[in-house]
C-alpha cells in the first residue's frame, strides 16, 4: 500500500510507524481558513 497524506502530519507519522510507505504533503487551507480573507484572495487570484 502506498499512501499520500495531505495536511495533518500526525497521520503520516502513524502510518510510517507501521512501515506503510507514506508521502506527506505539507498543506494548510489558504489564509488559515479565514473565510473573509479567502474570499478576498479569490477575487485577486482570478486567472
Amino acid at each position: 500500500m502506498h499512501v499520500i497524506n495531505i495536511g495533518l502530519e500526525l497521520f503520516a507519522e502513524t502510518l510510517a510507524n507501521q512501515n506503510v510507505n507514506v508521502l506527506h504533503v505539507e498543506w494548510k487551507p489558504p489564509a488559515g481558513g479565514d473565510n473573509k480573507m479567502m474570499e478576498l484572495l479569490s477575487k485577486l487570484e482570478e486567472l
Binding site: 489564509a31 485577486l44 487570484e45 482570478e46 486567472l47
Partner: protein, 417 residues
C-alpha cells in the same frame, strides 16, 4: 486581462526594478540640505505616523535628545510642550525618502548619507551612527549625547564627505553583495560591509588634505564601530525600493517599519496609505540584568533591509549572527528558505554561498503572505522601553499578519473587485 495576470505582470515589473537598482553613496550633507521637505521645526522618526501620547519612553527620549542637540529645547518638559503646541512637527522618515535606525530621529543639522539609485535617478537618505554609548537612537538625551552628535556633525561627517567626493562615491550594490559573501546579513551584522567601507574610503581620506589627527580620529572610529556602515546599507535598500512604489496593480510591499508602538507597511499599488498593527514583542536574547519586562516593542526603519530582501531574509548568509539573536544555524537557513515562499523573485545581485549561491528572496507579495499565513521575518535590536537606558538585547520577530490583511482588503477595494 484577468486580475491575476495584471497583478503578476505588475509584480514582475516591480521586482525587476528592485533587483536592477544601483544604489551609490554619493555624498554626506546636513539633513536640511539633502532631505526633501526637511525644515528646522520638523523631526523625522522611524515607523509609521505616531503622536507623542502614544510613544514609548525611549522613542520620546530620542526626540528630546534631538531637540536639545538643535538647541530647540532644554529638557523633556519643554520638548513635550513644543510638540503638543505643534511648534515642532513629527513625520515619518519614509515620507521623505529617508530611513532611521531604531527611533530613527533625524533633525535639520544632522548629517545624512546621500544615496543615489543610478539606475532610476532617485535618492534616499539615512542618518549617521554616533557613539554606541548614550546613543540617541536608543532613547538617550543630554549633554553627552549632544556632544557625540556634534562630533559627528563637525568632525566625522565633513572628513567623510570630502573622502567620498575624492573617491567618486561607493558602489553600495557591490559592497553589499561582497559583504553577504563575507558573513553579513546587512541588518544586524555589518562587520564586513564596514571593513569594506573603510578599505574603499581610506586612500581617499588620506588625500583630502585634512590634518593627520582628524584622519586618525575618523579611521579609529571606523575601526571602533563595527556596524558603522549599517545606515548607509539601510539607505541603499530604501533607494532600491522606492522605484517599485506606486505601480498600478502591484501587490508588493515597499515599506515595512515600526515606531515602538505600531508596525506599519505600505504597498506599491496603494500609494502612501499606511496599514498598521501593534508592534510585536521581540523573541530575544537579553543582556545580563534585563528581561522582556524591560523591552520596548519592535522599533526602527532598519527592516528596510528585509523589505529589500536582505537582513533576516538572508540569514543563511550570516550564520554567525545567530549567536547574537538566538536560535541555531539550521534556523538561519530555514528563515531564508521560508521567505522564498512569500516573495516574487530571487535577487541575482545578492547571492547566498551556503545555498549554492541562490539569489536572495526579494519582493514580498502581500497576496502570498495572507494566503500562506507566513509573515516576513526580521532580526532586530531591542531598546529599553524607558528613555536613557539604551540597548538591552537582540532577537527575531515577525511582521504582524494584521497589517497584510488590512492591506489586502484595501487592494480589493482599490481594484473595484
Amino acid at each position: 486581462m484577468s486580475t491575476g495576470k495584471l497583478i503578476g505582470e505588475a509584480n514582475q515589473k516591480a521586482v525587476s526594478k528592485i533587483i536592477s537598482a544601483r544604489p551609490r553613496l554619493v555624498d554626506i550633507k546636513p539633513a536640511i540640505e539633502a532631505i526633501p521637505g526637511m525644515k528646522k521645526d520638523l523631526v523625522l522618526h522611524a515607523g509609521p505616523p505616531i503622536t507623542w501620547d502614544r510613544m514609548c519612553g525611549s522613542f520620546r527620549g530620542a526626540i528630546v535628545g534631538a531637540l536639545m542637540y538643535e538647541n530647540l529645547a532644554k529638557n523633556m518638559e519643554e520638548a513635550e510642550r513644543l510638540i503638543k503646541n505643534q511648534e515642532i512637527l513629527l513625520q515619518p522618515c519614509h515620507d521623505h525618502h529617508a530611513v532611521g535606525s531604531m527611533a530613527g530621529i533625524t533633525t535639520a543639522s544632522m548629517p545624512v548619507f546621500v544615496i543615489q539609485n543610478e539606475e532610476y535617478g532617485n535618492y534616499a537618505y539615512s542618518n549617521i551612527r554616533e557613539e554606541r554609548v548614550k546613543a540617541l537612537r536608543y532613547g538617550f538625551y543630554g549633554e553627552e549625547t549632544t556632544k557625540n552628535l556634534k562630533w559627528v556633525e563637525r568632525t566625522l561627517a565633513p572628513a567623510l564627505k570630502a573622502a567620498i567626493k575624492e573617491s567618486g562615491g561607493i558602489d553600495m550594490r557591490s559592497l553589499i553583495a561582497k559583504a553577504l559573501h563575507m558573513g553579513d546579513d546587512g541588518h544586524n551584522e555589518n562587520t564586513a560591509s564596514t571593513v569594506l567601507f573603510a578599505t574603499y574610503i581610506m586612500p581617499s581620506l588620506l588625500r583630502t588634505g585634512y590634518d593627520k589627527d582628524v584622519i586618525y580620529e575618523v579611521a579609529s572610529w571606523l575601526a571602533y564601530d563595527e556596524r558603522f556602515s549599517s545606515t548607509a546599507v539601510f539607505a541603499a535598500c530604501k533607494a532600491s525600493l522606492d522605484p517599485a512604489h506606486n505601480i498600478e496593480n502591484c501587490t508588493l510591499v515597499t515599506t515595512m517599519c515600526r515606531n515602538g508602538t505600531d508596525f506599519g507597511i505600505r504597498v506599491s499599488c496603494l500609494g502612501d496609505e499606511w496599514f498598521t498593527a501593534p508592534s510585536p514583542m521581540v523573541d530575544a536574547l537579553y543582556f545580563p540584568g534585563f528581561t522582556k519586562d524591560d523591552a520596548s516593542l519592535d522599533m526602527g526603519d532598519s527592516c528596510v533591509t528585509e523589505t529589500a530582501g536582505i537582513g533576516a531574509f538572508v540569514m543563511a548568509a550570516a550564520p554567525s549572527m545567530i549567536q547574537f539573536v538566538g536560535g541555531t544555524v539550521s534556523d538561519a537557513i530555514n528563515y531564508t528558505k521560508e521567505m522564498h515562499e512569500i516573495t516574487e523573485g530571487r535577487n541575482v545581485n545578492y547571492t547566498i554561498p551556503y545555498l549554492d549561491f541562490v539569489g536572495a528572496p526579494v519582493g514580498i507579495d502581500l497576496v502570498k503572505v495572507v494566503k500562506t499565513g507566513t509573515t516576513p521575518v526580521i532580526n532586530t535590536s531591542i531598546a529599553h522601553k524607558e528613555a536613557g537606558i539604551g540597548q538591552i538585547g537582540a532577537g527575531m520577530t515577525k511582521v504582524p499578519l494584521e497589517c497584510f490583511q488590512k492591506a489586502l482588503e484595501a487592494t480589493v477595494r482599490k481594484m473595484n473587485l
